[in-house]
């Protein structure tokens, strides 16, 4: 792709605000001053709980709602006030919104015909789309004659037919069952990447976002809390909310006891943490330690310390197993600590018949390495 293409496909959202007024006169701010840069060719996911404003943001990108203020710059042009049919952006709707009175072929051709293209070219492009989503044989069928997965592929083909500069996906896998979802995730990403279109998707499903997106933006209450790759979001969350929203996490509040450039120590209710890197802060500052369950090891026997590990009882706890959930590939333990707090630990079931068979009400030790924590100040 040429550099000029790169500059054009780059989407910049600039201080976008959306206020909704209700009949009693109060206003509700759905999107609160969001600024975001989307790179060309990437799949960017907006992830957040219901009501966080992600759908409002997506609809403003598509043109179905007008922002109260702010700009949406695509290719140097501010689109914020343009109608949907004036934007080089296409959307795949959550309900697919396939026109029930038109065949698959006509559904895909719909957008192309609006452009006034000659019949031959419309036909070529529709055929190309059908081939892309592998629905050539179903071209003459009507939407109600297709399965859910097939309908989704038609919706995708229809939204890609016009070769938009930006593709919007609204909860793309929401309507599918689990098995179909896993297959479709991969397929969808492959198709989008083979076409090379820049994509913004909205979802409340973490797995979907993590599996499909190259970068994720976590949203809550109309604001973006963190933007990063799936790994960055998971392993280095910026706030309590992000840490708690993505995956499972143990959050322990404490105070900064030792503040050195190469390590810090944090006093929490049940344990003293030794973190193997420095943080910006000062002694006595309240912080939260985020510890992922899979980074903790658990055993009925006390941990064997290796060279360089801080002495016990740093980065170690002892507790009683209050709950266990066997998931097949791993097991989740709820370890009740002295203060009454619950520590969540997951362990991969690498052995079919483990020697150390933990059960309810057993006493167990949990420990982790100095690199396992994330220290949060927000």
């Amino acid at each position: 792709m040429s550099t000029s293409d790169q500059a054009e496909a780059y989407l910049r959202i600039d201080r976008l605000i959306k206020d909704f007024g209700s009949q009693d006169g109060s206003t509700y701010r759905a999107v609160d001053n969001i600024s975001l840069d989307i790179r060309q060719g990437e799949i960017f996911a907006l992830l957040g709980p219901s009501g966080c404003g992600k759908t409002s943001l997506l609809r403003m990108l598509g043109g179905f709602d007008l922002p109260s203020s702010g700009r949406i710059m695509l290719g140097g042009q501010d689109l914020a006030q343009l109608a949907p049919y004036q934007r080089p952006i296409n959307m795949m709707f959550q309900s697919y919104a396939l026109f029930p009175h038109l065949s698959v072929w006509d559904n895909i051709a719909f957008g192309l015909r609006r452009e006034g293209l000659p019949k031959a070219e419309v036909a070529t492009r529709v055929e190309a789309m059908l081939k892309l989503v592998q629905l050539g044989k179903f071209a003459q069928r009507k939407p109600h004659q297709l399965s859910g997965g097939q309908q989704q592929r038609v919706a995708l083909a229809r939204s890609l037919a016009k070769q938009p500069k930006l593709l919007l996906l609204d909860e793309p896998l929401g309507a599918l069952d689990k098995k179909l979802r896993e297959e479709t995730q991969i397929e969808l990403v492959n198709i989008v990447e083979s076409v090379g279109v820049t994509c913004v998707m909205v979802t409340h499903d973490q797995e979907e976002a993590m599996a499909m997106a190259s970068r994720i933006g976590i949203m809550s209450e109309g604001r973006i809390l963190q933007v990063g790759t799936p790994r960055e979001i998971y392993e280095t969350p910026a706030t309590r909310f992000v840490a708690d929203f993505i995956g499972n996490v143990n959050l322990m509040d404490g105070t900064l006891a030792v503040d050195e450039p190469d390590h810090v120590e944090i006093d929490c209710a049940d344990v003293r943490h030794y973190v193997g890197h420095g943080i910006t802060g000062h002694e006595g500052m309240p912080v939260t330690v985020a510890l992922r369950p899979e980074k903790i090891r658990i055993s009925s026997k006390p941990p064997v310390l290796e060279a360089g590990d801080p002495p016990a009882p740093i980065n170690q706890v002892k507790g009683r197993i209050k709950d266990m959930v066997y998931f097949g590939s791993d097991t989740l333990y709820h370890l009740k600590l002295a203060s009454g707090a619950i520590l969540k630990v997951t362990q991969s079931n690498t052995e079919r018949h483990p020697d150390d068979n933990l059960s309810w009400e057993d006493e167990a030790y949990a420990w982790w390495s100095p690199s396992a924590h994330v220290v949060l100040t927000q």
């Binding site: 179905f64 709602d65 007008l66 109608a83 949907p84």
Partner: protein, 308 residues
């Protein structure tokens, strides 16, 4: 035709709203205002004297309220209004009594049969109501099928006792024939909204009720009926309000005993040529149905809210 709130399309939006609005104002609102005006006007042959005149620098407003006074004072008008309300109420009650179980059983029938049942209810509805009312003339006249059956079952004795018919075998032109005619005509108007409401009811609610210990009878009164309230109101208003002003059925099936206000209006207009009087009668009729009308409006907009 702005679908989203895009401001640059409002002129076409205004047309879409404006055209039907204008039509309604012209043909609905304006006539009512005119009726109102005429009801308080003095009428000289066919010309109405102006209400407001400017004579010698003095603005004069002449409102002839004598028509209204006449209505409130004259026994005939009062009794006729009362009778109309009474017959409308009785018809509504009977339609509800017969129509609710009907709609209920239709809604509970198997899914395969329901469209057929619906069609069978719609068929009389699509057939001219005038002809069907006329049919009752034939059925209740001497020698008519229904008349013969009623004679055979000695129902006429019961009806005489209830003062619904004047004598044995005289079923026509009585309160009895009138009510039968009205119930017959308006029954589909009660059944259809009720059916629409009941057929959309989630059957699992009744299963839940049963699971929590309710018998079928209790579940009916505590779950089904409250949920169908919207349909009951809609159906009742669809029957009651038009019945108050019914003209054709009392004319064909009613008699001297069953004078209704629709007939009074007609006579004032066509027979007596007293347009102001007819207008006054109309205005009072409108006032009478104002409350049910508001109820109906509310039921309609509630139903629309529920659909969203």
């Amino acid at each position: 035709m702005a679908i989203s709130k895009t401001p640059h399309l409002s002129w076409s939006a205004r047309t879409v709203v404006g055209v039907p609005y204008l039509w309604l104002l012209l043909c609905f609102m304006l006539p009512f205002l005119i009726v109102l005006k005429i009801s308080v006007s003095e009428m000289e042959t066919v010309v109405f004297k102006d209400l407001i005149t400017w004579t010698d620098g003095v603005l004069q407003l002449q409102l002839k309220l004598s028509n209204y006074l006449f209505i409130t004072q004259d026994d005939l008008y009062f009794r006729t209004y009362l009778a109309s309300l009474k017959y409308a109420a009785v018809t509504t009650a009977l339609c509800l009594l017969i129509g609710y179980p009907f709609a209920y059983f239709m809604a509970r029938a198997s899914k395969a049969v329901q469209p057929g049942l619906l069609m069978m209810v719609m068929l009389p509805f699509w057939t001219s109501f005038l002809l069907r009312v006329y049919a009752w003339k034939g059925l209740l006249s001497e020698g008519g099928w229904v008349a013969q059956v009623l004679d055979a079952l000695h129902v006429d004795q019961v009806l005489i006792a209830l003062a619904l018919i004047p004598g044995p075998g005289q079923y026509m032109n009585t309160p009895f024939s009138l009510v039968i005619g009205m119930v017959y005509t308006y029954l589909p108007f009660m059944i259809l909204p009720l059916y629409a409401n009941l057929s959309k009811m989630d059957m699992r609610l009744l299963e839940a009720a049963s699971d929590l210990g309710a018998t079928a009878w209790v579940a009916f009164w505590k779950v089904t009926v409250p949920l169908s309230r919207g349909g009951i109101v809609a159906g009742s208003m669809l029957v009651f309000i038009p019945c108050v002003g019914e003209f054709v059925i009392p004319e064909l099936l009613g008699g001297p005993q069953t004078l209704m206000i629709g007939r009074v209006l007609w006579d004032e207009f066509f027979a007596n040529n007293d347009w102001p009087m007819a207008s006054s009668v109309a205005v009072v009729m409108i006032l009478l149905i104002l409350v049910p009308l508001a109820l109906f409006n509310k039921a309609q907009s509630d139903a629309q809210e529920a659909r969203r």
